[in-house]
Amino acid sequence: MTGELFRARTGSPIRKAGSEPPGYERVAGAFRQSGQWLAAIGFLAAAASLVFFAAGMSGVTGSAWLIFVYAAGFMLVVSLLPLALGYRRIRRVAFLGRLRDRWIQLDRVGDPDDQIATLRRAYGGLIANDVVARVGVR
């Protein structure tokens, strides 16, 4: 319950021209940081997969090379999860950027069709992880 959200919910008449979605920087920063960490973890898992594969194919593991190849495959599959999650966050950051630009643009022209409310629901659904609200916006 920040003050910005209070103002948005209450529809305060004091509206600044070109204002952005409330708490945008924190939300985008959270998604960006989370996406960067998840991508790093995914690349780390992929790197581990490459290490296993290289160790298995180079012959230093002797007769256990096939096990290392299987481990490499397993780690490659495992790395897909953080990579997918990170990719999703980065996509969300890009979406937030477009939403912010639209929000600012509508706010400058006085929001003649009352579209900011729709953007507000979509923004709130994104923060609350509400798929229905997000899909409705897109």
Binding site: M1, L5, R9, R26, S34, L85, Y123, A128
Partner: protein, 347 residues
């Protein structure tokens, strides 16, 4: 109004949720990496350990194969030794069988010696029969001589008749001459036959005389005498035994001086002397005036006889005579010519 209905975004919850997700995902990924790495590493170690155990097992199997080969070689050697042992056993059995056959042959030889001894004992009787047969032949030759004399007388009468008839006519002279020639040839043939018959009669008379003379002085000798003689001197016993063995072999009188053909009297004495006293010959013996047992007495008819004595202590001489090996009394009617000292009795 719609702004008033919009939910208030929970940014702090978003941030916390994103952090939780990130941390959970990181932990899960790290745990999976560690688990996969540990599993692969442990598997590699287990495989290496299994490989080492396989190599050890291979080495043990190789050693076991070597042991098996060695055992097979040992078994083969044992089988070969068993075969060799069986062959040696078979050879031993064959040797025992040969010894048995030798024993049988020795037994049969002993029987042959016994039978020869029996034949030797009958030699005296055989000699007596030969003497009687020679006397009958002498009587027959005497009758033949009388017949020849009668024929000579007849032929002489015929010759006289033919001579008288020659005076009867010239025509019959040629016939008479032929008859005379034939008769002369018959007379010459008859004279030759007469001379041959006379020579044969003389030889037979000599042989008969010798046989009769020797048979009158025969001295019976046997193996018991040899055994008794061996008590006083082993060499004298062996001398008499050897002479008796040769008499049993019926060795004849011959000038060949070979055991297979026969001996004359000096040859026989020298042969026996060489067998009993190695290295001695008749020519190497000194003469003696007092012959002892085992010495050789020489007679003027050419006999060389060993002087011995029987079991009762009676002396006799034994050697080869024209009628065979005979044991005679020392003075069998022929003067002695000397004696040779063999030294057998002293040795």
């Amino acid at each position: 109004m719609r702004e008033a209905l919009a939910p208030a975004p929970d940014i702090a919850g978003l941030v916390a949720r994103e952090r939780r997700i990130t941390i959970i995902v990181a932990l899960v990924v790290v745990a999976l990496v560690a688990a996969a790495g540990g599993f692969a590493w442990n598997t590699m170690l287990a495989l290496d350990h299994a490989q080492e155990r396989i190599e050890v097992a291979d080495a043990a199997a190789t050693a076991a194969r070597r042991d098996a080969e060695a055992a097979r070689l040992g078994a083969s050697s044992a089988m070969a030794e068993l075969q060799a042992g069986r062959a040696r056993f078979a050879e031993g059995v064959a040797t025992v069988n040969r010894a048995k056959s030798d024993l049988l042959r020795a037994t049969s030889s002993l029987e042959s010696v016994k039978s020869a001894l029996l034949r030797t004992r009958s030699v005296v009787a055989v000699r007596t029969l030969e003497r009687d047969k020679a006397r009958a032949e002498a009587r027959e030759l005497t009758a033949s001589l009388a017949t020849a004399n009668e024929r000579i007388a007849t032929l002489q009468g015929a010759y006289a008749t033919a001579t008288l008839r020659a005076f009867g006519g010239m025509g019959r002279a040629t016939i008479a001459d032929i008859w005379i020639g034939r008769l002369r040839a018959d007379v010459a043939y008859a004279d030759t036959r007469l001379e041959e018959a006379q020579a044969m009669v003389a030889a037979l008379k000599d042989h008969i005389g010798l046989t009769v003379a020797l048979s009158e002085h025969l001295h019976p000798v046997g193996s018991a005498d040899a055994e008794k003689l061996a008590d006083s001197s082993d060499r004298l016993g062996r001398l008499l035994s050897r002479v008796l063995d040769m008499r049993a072999q019926n060795i004849r009188y011959s000038g060949a001086n070979k055991p297979s053909e026969g001996f004359n009297s000096p040859g026989f004495t020298g042969y026996v002397l060489g067998r009993v006293a190695r290295g001695k010959t008749l020519t190497s013996l000194p003469e003696t005036d007092t012959p002892q047992l085992g010495d050789i007495i020489r007679y003027q008819n050419g006999f060389d006889m060993f002087l011995l004595q029987d079991a009762e202590g009676e002396p006799f001489v034994i050697g080869m005579t024209p009628v065979g090996i005979a044991a005679l009394e020392p003075d069998f009617g022929v003067p002695r010519a000397g004696a040779l000292a063999t030294g057998i009795f002293q040795q």
